[in-house]
């Protein structure tokens, strides 16, 4: 459940119409124009609601305070509760006024919005929702409706509220890091026009003109997305040889064969192929988005694999590229920042496939020895908090307690003297995998409690969890810790970690609790 509070100087109640359909959201609407008192009064409904996120929309024409009052109110709230994140809409004035041709409001708008940017620039828990971008996309006349203003201080139209609700959801999924990991694509009439098996690699539509250019641009956008760390796979009913030929011989191709981590090109049912792709990458079906031009294939996947997100494909191909950005990238793959691990993602999964190759020739222990693994364990500093938070949000398998943390929460934990954060960087003879494991340990006198212990699936199954835990225990022993307590919270996905603590010398103590005395 995500707790979202909505504050404004006008009425935003109709946002409820769309947001209440999302059952993962718990909503709080502050009263009309109560934004400031709700923030400043610690006895307010907002304070007792305990929101995870606070969205503030201020209507520029109604906003008569000094902008610094907004900032100091937010800072006041953050001093009380630093784990909340603020989402601030930027300001927009109507396009025309009665005064002069170049509206005096333009400079006011610029002034307010640049103050907003300066305020948010170095804050991890204050974000801007770019409302002006929605106006650019839909148009002022479509977003605003005066009728409701005169009846109830409601500024926006139905369409305006729909757009705002969607944008809010995009920002929330981006902030929580709960985005998808893999985009599975069909090829014929999806990556290019026409059917390669019938027309041949030379004659498919992929060119500098017309429909061919639509697909060429589409490929460029998919490539950009892949470079941000999203994995790509092909799932197509074709002969593999025909599809390979397009990638090898067609000079207009923008994507490389190797940009795709898996190629399921055969005549099997697509849902089976998607399951195979998920298994080979150790990914859950709920981290997959499937795009296919055929409504029949989409419906089949939708019905047999309800966890997979199936996106509609536009009938009018001229809309393809805009649709891809607004309806696929933003809602499912939106991200706030890129980490080094993100941009390296496809290579890292490829190295895993290389590792699997030698694994097949060797027994397990000699395989691990062959890898020449080194772990560099350290205490992550505040600059690494984003990556640590990302690991807690995205790791589902070898994650003992599955607690999710935001960047701000990690930062606040790292400042506590009774908390120890650990992380490691993994390297073997195939390359460096970056920061791929972390642990959060709480100290209570001479007892240490493992709040979080996780290993990214990228390095899973190479026994590094034991090396990591040994390292943590040795450090804690040096600090005078005499006993350890740890937990395993079972979920549908983390069974792989169930027997970890017993295997590491811990004694079961009931209720998924484990203890160990340190000698």
């Amino acid at each position: 459940m995500t707790r979202l509070a909505i504050l404004s100087n006008i009425n935003l109640d109709p946002l409820k119409n769309d947001l209440q359909k999302d059952h993962s959201l718990e909503l709080y609407f502050a009263g009309y124009n109560q934004w400031q008192s709700e923030l400043l009064n610690t006895g307010s409904g907002l304070h007792s609601f305990l929101p995870d996120h606070i969205f503030i929309y201020l209507d520029a024409e109604e906003f008569r305070s000094d902008i610094t009052e907004l900032f100091s109110s937010i800072e006041f709230y953050l001093e009380k509760k630093n784990t909340v994140s603020f989402i601030l809409s930027n300001f927009s004035y109507p396009p025309y006024s009665v005064l002069t041709y170049s509206s005096p409001c333009d400079s006011d708008e610029r002034h307010l919005n640049s103050a907003l940017s300066v305020f948010t620039a170095n804050k991890d828990n204050v974000f801007i929702l770019d409302f002006n971008r929605l106006i650019r996309l839909h148009g002022y006349k479509a977003i605003f409706d005066d009728k409701f203003w005169y009846l109830g201080r409601i500024r926006h139209s139905r369409q305006g509220f729909q757009a705002l609700a969607q944008e809010l959801k995009n920002v929330l999924s981006c902030l929580s890091g709960q985005t998808k990991k893999l985009l599975v694509l069909d090829v014929d009439n999806t990556l290019w026009g026409g059917v390669v098996g019938e027309e041949g690699w030379q004659h498919i539509q992929l060119s500098q003109e017309g429909i061919g250019l639509v697909f060429l641009d589409f490929q460029k956008k998919i490539k950009q997305l892949q470079q941000t760390g999203v994995l790509l796979a092909i799932c197509s009913k074709n002969n593999e040889k025909d599809v390979r030929e397009v990638f090898e011989k067609n000079t207009n191709i923008q994507l490389q064969w190797d940009d795709f981590i898996c190629h399921e090109i055969n005549w099997n049912v697509k849902s089976d192929n998607i399951i195979r792709i998920a298994e080979s990458l150790d990914l859950g079906l709920d981290s997959i988005v499937f795009a296919d031009d055929s409504p029949v294939e989409r419906e089949l996947v939708r019905q047999s694999l309800p966890e997979v997100t199936v996106v509609d494909f536009p009938d009018d191909l001229s809309l393809l590229n805009r649709w891809f950005v607004t309806d696929v990238v933003y809602p499912y793959f939106g991200r706030r920042k890129l980490t080094r691990e993100d941009t390296e993602k496809t290579h890292q999964y490829k190295r895993n496939i290389d590792r699997k190759r030698i694994r097949n020739q060797l027994d397990w222990d000699s395989f691990i020895r062959q890898l020449q693994i080194t772990l560099k364990v350290f205490h992550p500093d505040a600059g690494m908090a984003f990556r640590i938070a990302q690991l807690t949000q995205k790791t589902n398998q070898f994650n003992l307690t599955v607690k999710r943390y935001t960047e701000a929460e990690i930062k606040s934990l790292s400042g506590r003297t009774d908390v120890r954060l650990f992380a490691f960087e993994y390297e073997d003879k195939f390359g460096n995998e970056g920061i791929t494991g972390c642990a959060i340990v709480l100290l209570e006198g001479t007892k240490a409690i493992i709040d979080t212990f996780l290993i990214s699936c990228r390095v899973l199954g190479r026994k590094v969890e034991f090396t990591f835990l040994d390292h943590i225990i040795n450090t804690l022993k040096r600090d005078g810790i005499r006993s350890m307590e740890a937990f395993y919270t079972g979920t549908a996905r983390n069974a792989v970690a169930r027997d970890f603590y017993p295997g590491a010398g811990f004694t079961p103590a009931g209720d998924d609790r484990f203890t160990r005395i340190l000698e």
């Binding site: 009425n11 109640d13 109709p14 409820k16 119409n17 209440q20 009728k147 409701f148 005169y150 009846l151 109830g152 409601i154 139209s157 139905r158 509220f161």
Partner: protein, 84 residues
């Protein structure tokens, strides 16, 4: 589906109540969320669902389900005539 049934669905969905809670006798303020702001949320949903538009002066008077249904039906009828 007839207009009244469809309208009941819009009411139920907007005010987050079960369909059975909406009858032709339902009046404004009987439902917790059907207050004056709720009225505007409702109008927005009805305008979208039925492709009709209400004038600012009509809206406050539509304070029962019955009046709302009658108004929607008239508007649908006018839309149909103007298309012919």
């Amino acid at each position: 589906m007839d207009t009244e049934q469809e309208l009941k669905k819009v009411f139920a969905c907007t005010f987050n109540v079960h369909l059975e809670n909406i009858s032709s006798g339902t009046r404004q303020f009987e439902l917790q969320e059907w207050d004056s702001l709720g009225q505007l949320r409702l109008i927005m949903e009805i305008e979208e669902a039925f492709h009709v538009s209400f004038l600012i002066e009509e809206i406050p008077a539509l304070d029962t389900f019955e009046k709302m249904a009658a108004s929607v039906k008239t508007k649908l009828e006018n839309n149909r005539r103007s298309r012919q």
